[in-house]
């Protein structure tokens, strides 16, 4: 793997991190409202997986999806404008943080129902299967979703029909305040996949290269007809569940221990040690990213409010596709 590719991975993670740090500020400033779920600490997962997809593949994500949207190449300005509720937002301001969409990149959202995106992903893959298109659908979900019936039904359907789905479980150990061991009787999640005869690997989600490596192998297998695969990415969210969460359910120490495995810091140190990155490079990267984000904020600020008269548009489609 080339150095430039490594730098790109780092840049992607950094963009997400800085973007979300800015989101948190903007939430305090009441520019962003509603629920805001930060991905900080988990960036390696979205970057490693989504970077390994082809442009024509599909992505289905959750309400914690800023990282996925950016990794998929969505314009940070359009994403930020969405969170501002502006018409220039990627969902016209109607979705907000939890409902980012981009049809042109086959980014199917942004789903605020835990587990709700999984059946959808199965259907996208079914369509590819029926049309013999060698495309992959990557669906992201938290470990909390594993307790939902929709997860199991979807796993079975995908495996039974040998559909090209990549199930990406982001195991950050908590579902809101519920720790995995209070949510699953068997916490080795790959065993769930095994019970559907689906190949499943445990991956260090704090190591972007490990994620990328696993994702590439899995995606290749999925694409070439190997059926669905399941990746359990072990990671951690450094911040609260949402902006309303007082984090009563875990200790500061637990968070601190995980922060020592910050995917961005780890990877930065590694690149510096390996000589692929200098402190100067990093500074440049940071300032590039900062610039991009400020541009996104400026874009959102300059955005306009959708006229109220348009409220009833798009409840039903305006154009009948042929």
């Amino acid at each position: 793997m080339s150095d430039s590719h490594h730098l790109d991975l780092l840049r992607q993670m950094l963009r997400i991190r800085r973007f979300e740090e800015r989101c948190a500020q903007l939430y305090q400033a009441e520019k962003i409202r509603g629920f805001l779920h930060l991905y900080i600490g988990e960036e390696g997962v979205a970057v490693g997986v989504i970077g390994s997809l082809l442009p024509d593949d599909a992505v289905v994500a959750t309400y914690r999806e800023h990282g996925h949207a950016l990794a998929r190449g969505m314009d940070p300005g359009a994403v930020m404008a969405e969170m501002y509720g502006k018409m220039e937002g990627c969902s016209r301001g109607r979705g907000g943080s939890m409902h980012l969409f981009d049809a042109s990149r086959r980014f199917y959202g942004g789903n605020a129902i835990v587990g709700g995106g999984l059946p959808l992903a199965v259907g996208l893959a079914l369509a590819d299967r029926l049309r013999d298109q060698p495309r992959v659908t990557a669906v992201f979900f938290g470990e909390g979703a594993v307790a939902e019936g929709e997860f199991h039904e979807s796993m079975n359907l995908a495996a039974l029909w040998n559909l090209p789905v990549l199930f990406c479980c982001e195991n950050n150990l908590y579902a809101m305040g519920t720790a995995l061991e209070r949510s699953e009787s068997q916490t080795r999640l790959t065993l769930k996949a095994a019970s559907y005869e689906m190949p499943a690997w445990e991956v260090d989600g704090m190591d972007v290269l490990a994620v990328e490596d696993a994702a590439r192998k899995a995606i290749e297998s999925v694409r070439s007809g190997g059926g669905p695969h399941f990746l359990e990415m072990r990671t951690f969210r450094f911040r609260a569940h949402s902006m309303f969460d007082p984090e009563l359910y875990r200790s500061k120490e637990e968070v601190e221990v995980w922060k020592e495995r910050d995917p961005i810091e780890l990877f930065t140190r590694r690149l510096i040690t390996d000589g692929g990155l200098t402190e100067d490079d990093l500074a440049t990267m940071e300032s590039d990213v900062a610039e991009e984000i400020e541009a996104a904020v400026a874009f959102a600020e300059a955005g306009t409010w959708e006229p109220v008269e348009e409220l009833t548009r798009f409840v039903y489609s305006e154009v009948v596709p042929s």
Binding site: S91, G123, N156, F314
Partner: protein, 332 residues
Amino acid sequence: MTSLATPTRTITYREAMRESMSDAMRNDPRVFLMGEDVGRYGGCYAVSKGMLEEFGPDRVRDTPLSEAAFVGAGIGAALAGLRPIVEVMTVNFSLLALDQIVNTAALYSHMSGGQFNVPIVIRMTTGAGRQLGAQHSHSLEVWYAHVPGLKVVTPATVEDARWMLPTALEDPDPVIIFEHAALYNSEGDLPEQGAPVDLDRAVVRRPGPDVGLITYGGSLPKTLAAATELAEEGISAQVLDLRSLRPLDTEAILTTAASTHRIVIVDEGWKTAGISAEIAASIAEGAIWELDAPIRRVCSVEVPIPYARHMEDAALPQTAGIVAAARELVGR
């Protein structure tokens, strides 16, 4: 020596539905059928019998018992450009798929600012009357009719069974088709040369100035029978078949109210907060001064539907009850 009358043929509602699906699948490779036992079993109500043989297991796709996942998969396939017909065996089991239908199918277009649309058709059997007991006798059309983003139709004639589906498949948005189980064996004459019909207009099935009977779906035959009985007593009832519950054809409802001044609404759903309430409300909003009598609703009694025949009969709207309500309104 050609006949001037349109040539017709007699066909059952079940056959009409099957022909409709098969035809759509022959004409459009994007169309496929998916649901529990639609294939090898031939469909729980034998609607899809024989279709597996013609179209193969990819396009007549048996699913596991996973209502949420296979309805959701239909939504995904529709998003990706296919035209799935998803059969949920009965409305009773659709409760397990409601999250997908309401939180995904109905919302995706608006929530994404119009980027996506979900051209799925979901068919389900509805209604009671066959002694299947409380868990298998729901009529929950009204729940679906409440939800923006969905369209809800209730074919009650063989013509609608035959010709609503192609329109539904052309529709870019989710369409739910409710088929009342009691209709499958009903027969009717179908013109040899049919064409797709609209999904949003009510139709007067029988004209009459004395009292308006507004109904849909499985209650249409009972309501027509009531009109026949009323005619024998010299009461000429108008029968309006709603055909679509979302959108509701409010204009037609108001026209019936304005032309008959007396309204009986017949609905197999429970009365409280049923679709009958919406019909009454539209009239109370839009044609209240036209009424010469309070609105009457003939609905299911507010009980879980019991198994025993006589109790089930007593729980559901029946012709006699419709006749009595109409008679009362016209003061006989």
